[in-house]
């Protein structure tokens, strides 16, 4: 018989299979196939931790491959190689640069279980109802798009998020109190001739320019309209002040990677410099006195989040949502908060921290016992309090967010000149 259409038997078979699949949906298939899923995540060193990848394997069953790069390389990859990653762990200002390339897809907030508990900074932009949104690329301004395919940012919560916030902090200058020997209170100290040849700034243009702006504004030399979006004149003036300082030998070196900043500080080459919180921790864990000095002009803040690659779909996309929900459920938050960062959903992290740790890191209370890092290094003795105080003291004094400017290309050229001068 040449007829090969649908025999009664074959229809019955498929029907039964379909019925089976709908009666016992995801879990069965999920459990079997999820082990084969590998999500490729890349980002800056701060949150690309092997401990996180190990815990994902343990809790969720799939493999998370991590690649750590510097901010420039992260931007480059997100903008130019969309197929080389599934999850981009990037900062909000990078998002502003990368989102228009269309390499990332917006996330449906209804699939994010802890969405309601995410800190206001990432939603309305306000930490408390009275807060004022700081200058620069505030996360709320690039956090939402109009719909799944939106390429322009929305002003308010829309239900479609560009990045799911994961981690953020308030940055300031790091100092070696033992080598300085007097109180430091203002950003102006970075250019104080007293520290000639012992100061440093980071050589990542988009962040370095903000630290420069904080200094110039504190000195009263320049009044910025918006430090996060300078005019050409403002850029020229800022660079002129720092080029002058560089020529006078104010700077010992510039650093580009986390390790460089730690080594500069720990070796005593530098006594005051732009620094990141865990770098302070790393210096301290070597038994060297180092303070993340709160300054009266306020903090320069940054925030990062997870973005999904455009090419993610099907089971991989489900796994990615699963991973994001897990990320916000507390374990990672606790891990990061014990390093001095903040979690986007602090209340879930509380369950993964001791009362002492929660009091020290989040509430700014004196430690009741020794504070150790997640890797076991001692960071503070009983009785010590965190530099800058509580979460609300620190995140409430943000003067500016890391940003990308309209005049970015001009700024980059000027930055190149500054380095070469």
């Amino acid at each position: 018989m040449s007829k090969t259409g649908y025999t009664r038997r074959s229809i019955l078979k498929t029907g039964a299979a379909a019925l089976g699949a709908s009666a016992f949906p995801a879990p069965m298939i999920w459990a079997q196939e999820i082990k084969n899923i590998t999500l490729r995540q890349f980002g800056t060193g701060v949150s690309n931790l092997n401990d996180v990848a190990n815990k994902v394997k343990e809790d969720l069953g799939f493999t998370l491959e991590m690649t750590a790069l510097d901010s420039d390389a992260v931007t480059q990859r997100a903008a130019t190689q969309p197929d080389s990653f599934d999850i981009a762990d990037i900062e909000y200002w990078i998002c502003k640069k990368v989102w228009p390339t269309g390499n990332l897809q917006a996330m449906d907030t209804s699939k994010i279980k802890n969405y309601d508990k995410i800190v206001g900074i990432f939603k309305s932009g306000k930490l408390t109802p009275e807060s004022v949104i700081a200058q620069g690329t505030a996360p709320s301004t690039v956090g939402f798009v109009e719909g799944p395919g939106g390429t322009t940012f929305a002003d308010q919560e829309t239900g479609w998020m560009t990045l799911i916030p994961t981690i953020y902090n308030a940055d300031t200058l790091g100092i070696r109190p033992d080598l300085i020997g007097r109180p430091i209170e203002s950003w102006t100290e970075l250019l104080n001739p007293e520290f000639k040849g012992k100061a440093s700034i980071l050589d990542i243009s988009s962040i370095g320019i903000m630290d420069m702006a904080m200094v110039c504004e504190a000195m009263g030399e320049i009044q910025y309209g918006d430090k996060g979006n300078m005019t050409r004149e403002e850029i020229d003036k800022t660079m002129a002040i720092f080029t002058e300082a560089k020529k006078n030998g104010q700077f010992r070196a510039f650093w580009k990677t986390f390790d460089e900043s730690v080594n500069l500080m720990a070796s005593g080459e530098v006594v005051i410099q732009s620094m990141w919180s865990p770098a302070i921790t790393a210096v301290k864990s070597r038994g060297i006195d180092c303070v993340y000095q709160p300054l009266k002009e306020g903090y320069r803040s940054w925030g990062g989040g997870l973005g999904l690659s455009k090419s993610l779909s099907g089971m991989e996309l489900d796994a990615a949502y699963e991973y994001i929900n897990w990320y916000l459920s507390g374990w990672v938050g606790g891990y990061l908060m014990r390093q001095g960062y903040y979690s986007a959903v602090p209340e879930t992290s509380k369950d993964f921290m001791s009362d002492n740790e929660w009091g020290y890191w989040f509430e700014g209370k004196p430690a009741t016992d020794v504070i150790t890092s997640p890797t076991g290094d001692k960071l503070a003795e009983a009785g010590e309090t965190r530099d800058g105080g509580s979460f609300y003291d620190r995140m409430g004094h943000v003067a500016c967010w890391n940003a990308v400017m309209d005049e970015n290309q001009y700024m980059v050229r000027k930055w190149n000149e500054f380095i070469a001068s």
């Binding site: 070196a253 070796s267 080459e269 000149e417 380095i419 070469a420 001068s421």
Partner: protein, 285 residues
């Protein structure tokens, strides 16, 4: 022309190398030249024919300064590696009599090259630092009271690292040509009453020229194309052309980086072209 079996074989024998060179040398360079005329915004590259990159490059005083710095590093490194390289090669070739010993000492020179370039470079940092071994030693000897700041993150440290990294590239070709010098020539010079110095200047140096030239080309191209040594050893305080290019790449300004690369390539080619006027390497090899 009659195509003989030999010509076909000849072409076939040359083909693999030609293909490799076309694919991995000529094609990339052509691409770089093409891209150097394109334009870029922050996240996209626009194929166009525009001289903007070159206009900016030649119009900026920074470019000239950075090229001057590159030449300075290249010249100083060349002079020092030549002085050290020649001395070492001379000693190995003319003062060590037994060949076993020569080979042993020559291998000794290469031992540092068993580790990575970057590690050899970075290991200078703790040594030269403000509280480093060099400063501590000098202070304990009472030579200085204050640590010397210029030891690290300065032109000094950059050139020191270059000399350390690249001297062997001078030693090897010079040693090689010296070993080929007919010893009878030196004997003849001595018999004719030449002093040791005269033999060196009139016999050995002229005969070693091809080796010196090959070493020079190695060192010049390596130093002029470098960016990582300058970045690490100067603590990002100094710049050479390689750093301009790497900064541009980091900031996604590929066309501008390509334009700088083309200018650098031309500069290096011109320098080598001039050098080759002095010595005909092919003839002397």
């Amino acid at each position: 022309m009659k195509v003989t079996r030999e010509t076909v074989t000849g072409w076939l024998q040359a083909a693999p190398l030609t293909v490799v060179l076309l694919g991995f040398l000529v094609a990339p360079i052509i691409t770089i030249v093409i891209v150097s005329f394109w334009q870029a915004t922050e996240f996209s590259i626009i194929p166009a024919f525009s001289l903007e990159n070159y206009e900016f490059l030649f119009g900026s005083p920074v470019t000239y300064k950075v090229f001057a710095a590159t030449f300075k590093y290249a010249f100083l490194t060349w002079a020092m590696t030549l002085a050290i390289g020649f001395t070492v090669a001379y000693y190995l070739a003319f003062h060590i009599r037994s060949q076993t010993m020569q080979i042993a000492l020559f291998l000794l020179c290469t031992i540092p090259f068993w580790t990575s370039n970057i590690i050899r470079m970075i290991s200078w940092i703790p040594f030269l630092g403000r509280n480093g071994i060099a400063n501590q030693t000098l202070i304990s000897w009472g030579v200085i009271d204050q640590p010397l700041e210029w030891l690290l993150y300065s032109d000094f440290s950059v050139i020191l690292a270059f000399v350390h990294l690249y001297t062997l590239f001078m030693v090897v070709p010079i040693f090689n040509t010296m070993m080929r010098i007919d010893r009878n020539l030196i004997e003849a010079a001595r018999d004719n009453g030449a002093s040791g110095f005269q033999t060196l200047v009139h016999v050995i140096i002229p005969l070693t020229k091809p080796g010196i030239m090959i070493g020079t080309i190695f060192v010049l191209t390596l130093v002029m194309g470098d960016f990582i040594t300058v970045r690490f050893m100067s603590g990002s305080q100094r710049a050479n052309v390689g750093r301009l290019i790497s900064n541009d790449i980091a900031l996604l300004q590929y066309p501008s980086a390509a334009a700088t690369a083309v200018v650098l390539l031309c500069t290096v080619l011109i320098v080598i072209g001039i050098l080759l006027r002095f010595v005909n390497i092919r003839k002397e090899l």
